[in-house]
Symmetry: C2
Subunit: 439 residues, 2 copies
């Protein structure tokens, strides 16, 4: 059997590894357009900020490992240019080659959304879309004094954090009225005030142009101008489905339509990772959730099914963790705004609590729990200290379709340095009890 | 309505608060034999080790708060000496008083198991059973050089940690072959090697006597003698049911039999906290789980039901977190040994993993997942770094009766400093997949 996998990121390498583990004699080829496989874009801000010294460290495994240890035929600098039934054409460093396939996987990832404004092709304007841009960002950031980051989603926030660590002046420009706009206002307000200690945060401003002679000299918005020698753009991503379009059906937000076996509309063709649609476990509906952990698992499931066995991907929760300086930030499931948009009648609780017993130092956590009128949990957002453990717990309860009683009664252990006898999650649940008229 | 609550610890004050919140006009009396209410024995090691300066800080709220803010009639130094239907007799600082009750709650907690060996009443031999002993332990520990801790359950381990922080020589004597004997051998081995860096850890040794003239001078075991000026005994606890015996039925391990409304065998009489039986959610059977967080929730549920409303306590998981020096230690559900004892056919995975992306500092976590042959999750044990978030997550999945597929597919978020794209929990789940023949 000949298996062809387009894309050597998380999903692609995960699937390739799975197929080879289950079918050691099958021919598994991966075509990756960059020089890297199993690259870890989530690590880019840590490389830029200096926590990681060498770029190569960001790749989980090197190519030789996959070839030698796992028997995967990895082709790098290999851009797939055409796909037909049973065959694909690849540009490998300028030379075209053709390969046959019996089973095909799209693992083509996502691509940066473009601003489409004047001057965005100037030197010194960089989209953080490609793993290879990470090196450019770092080299350029080291040389300059003033950096503008356009966008304050996860990547924008982490990039802003990283670049201030290099001692640079950072301006962050966000078109929405708050940073990390997927979070509700209460949580975003805390993130905002933390960010404002370190960066010039410009909210509700729309970038209209980049200006400069040889290279960028300023970023222009509908409200002002921001001189800079480097502009980094991170205004979101979209599924990278240029190759798939017309060959398989597309679904939510243009991602490749899949079922729970990661099968596309065409027989023997699969999709996984950031290019693929999946299920949002909270809503039960198709969604597009381009994140690393789900991508790996989708790849795993695709690999199992491509190998002829059966496994179903249940979907994900869009669980996320990030940080800015001293605060951790996390979310699982839906914000209140998102829940309302999906048509839920919502109750929510926003609380601030110490994370430790009051006689120990600890810190503060702010968290918001969102539920529907029947008490079904819809989501958690948190910011502050010891956020990860609460987002992990909420992810588990959301995964199991839990309700606020589960959140209240779940036996979260008490240990004075990191938790409380009434955990902040439990306090929030009790708060919702009251709103639902429970005793 | 007259409500009498025996015991002003976590469960008692929780129940009293709940009743007053729901029935502000009811007369709610709490009888507490010590000077303290809402005391936090979990904080004792932090007080002894010096992280908490003043003993008073260990009490979550002071008595005035409960009286003034919550309208609870708190009686301290009030030892209940006799209970009859509708009436109880209390020794209040030497004077006997009698009170009527319409509803009664036992919240009498637990008491230290005695060694029953010679010399245990010598000066300098202290049982860590009573909140008031915490002050004695600290005062004595400050004065001496050599301390023996008998027992290496949670309290013993935390006490040993605390006393080494005071710069004292500590010997820990454990009758079982490993410290924290509720953990399986793989996990305990790591705890053992950490403890051995700081204390003289004597395993499989049984204390036979305490010897000394005016006060303790040595601890004698079946294998040796350990000179010391202070011996602290923490060899377990038992339900404190002296008062309840004969008045209501007792159940597992002598704890007061209760149903999910925390009702005892006698009408209008409830029990909650360390003196009460409850359900072990993993096994679905009656169990005795004397821990702070469950005690508070049992008290809450008892309070709701005493107030005439309805709420059911689902039971708990015996989730626990503790630490020794630089390692966190945690457990939820059953160990492999416990699972076998309960009759399960067990599969398990023990793994060691980094807790962060490999390009960031992070640390190591060792974890063991236990499941049955159908993949149902039975328990998690972990030791190392970032343990709390994994124990929280496992507690949530165990609470919802999850299986290893849930553990694998649960959308735990990836953030390079604190987690991995394949979280250690997910790696352990995959490991169990293999043992169950899943792809």
């Amino acid at each position: 059997m000949k298996v062809a996998i387009i894309g050597g990121g998380a999903a692609g390498m995960s699937a390739a590894s799975r197929v080879k583990a289950l079918r050691p004699n099958w021919d598994v080829k991966v075509f990756e357009k960059s020089r890297w496989v199993s690259h870890a874009p989530c690590g880019i801000p840590f490389f830029v900020g200096g926590a990681v010294e060498k770029f190569d460290e960001l790749c989980a495994y090197d190519i030789d490992y996959f070839k030698r240890e796992r028997g995967i035929d990895v082709h790098t600098n290999a851009r797939v240019v055409e796909i037909e039934e049973g065959r694909l054409t690849v540009d490998e460093g300028g030379k075209e080659a053709s390969y046959e396939w019996d089973k095909l996987l799209f693992a083509t990832g996502s691509k940066a959304v473009r601003l489409n404004v004047e001057g965005e092709n100037l030197e010194g304007v960089i989209y953080v879309d490609d793993i290879e841009n990470a090196e450019r960002v770092k080299i350029e950031a080291m040389k300059v004094d003033n950096v503008v980051v356009v966008g304050s989603g996860y990547i924008g926030v982490e990039m802003a954090d990283a670049i201030t660590r290099l001692g640079k002046n950072v301006t962050v420009i966000e078109v929405m009225e708050r940073p990390l706009p997927e979070y509700d206002a209460e949580i975003a307000a805390i993130i905002k005030s933390e960010m404002e200690k370190y960066v010039n945060l410009r909210l509700s401003e729309k970038v209209t142009a980049f200006e400069g002679k040889d290279r960028v000299e300023k970023v222009v918005t509908n409200k002002g101008e921001y001189p800079c020698e480097l502009a980094i753009i991170a205004v979101g991503v979209a599924p990278n489905t240029d190759l798939a379009k017309g060959f398989v059906e597309l679904g939510v937000k243009g991602a490749i339509r899949t079922n729970s076996r990661m099968e596309t509309s065409r027989e023997n063709v699969y999709a996984a990772g950031d290019c693929a649609e999946s299920i949002n476990i909270v809503t039960g509906r198709e969604d597009w959730i381009p994140l690393a952990a789900p991508a790996n698992k989708m790849g795993y499931v695709a690999g199992v099914n491509m190998a002829g066995l059966e496994m179903h991907y249940p979907g994900s929760l869009k669980s996320q963790l990030t940080g800015f300086k001293d605060i951790e930030i996390g979310k699982a499931g839906l914000s209140e705004n998102e829940a309302i948009r999906f048509g839920y009648e919502v109750v929510s609780a926003f609380i601030t609590s110490r994370t430790s017993a009051r006689y120990l130092p600890g810190g503060l956590i702010h968290l918001k729990v969102v539920a529907d009128r029947n008490g079904k949990l819809l989501g958690l957002q948190a910011v502050g200290k010891d956020v990860a453990m609460r987002v992990y717990a909420a992810s588990a309860l959301l995964h199991k379709n839990g309700d606020v009683k589960d959140l209240f009664f779940c036996d979260f252990p008490y240990y004075p340095p990191v938790s409380r006898v009434w955990d902040p999650l439990v306090v929030a649940a009790r708060n919702i009890f009251r709103k639902l008229g429970l005793p």
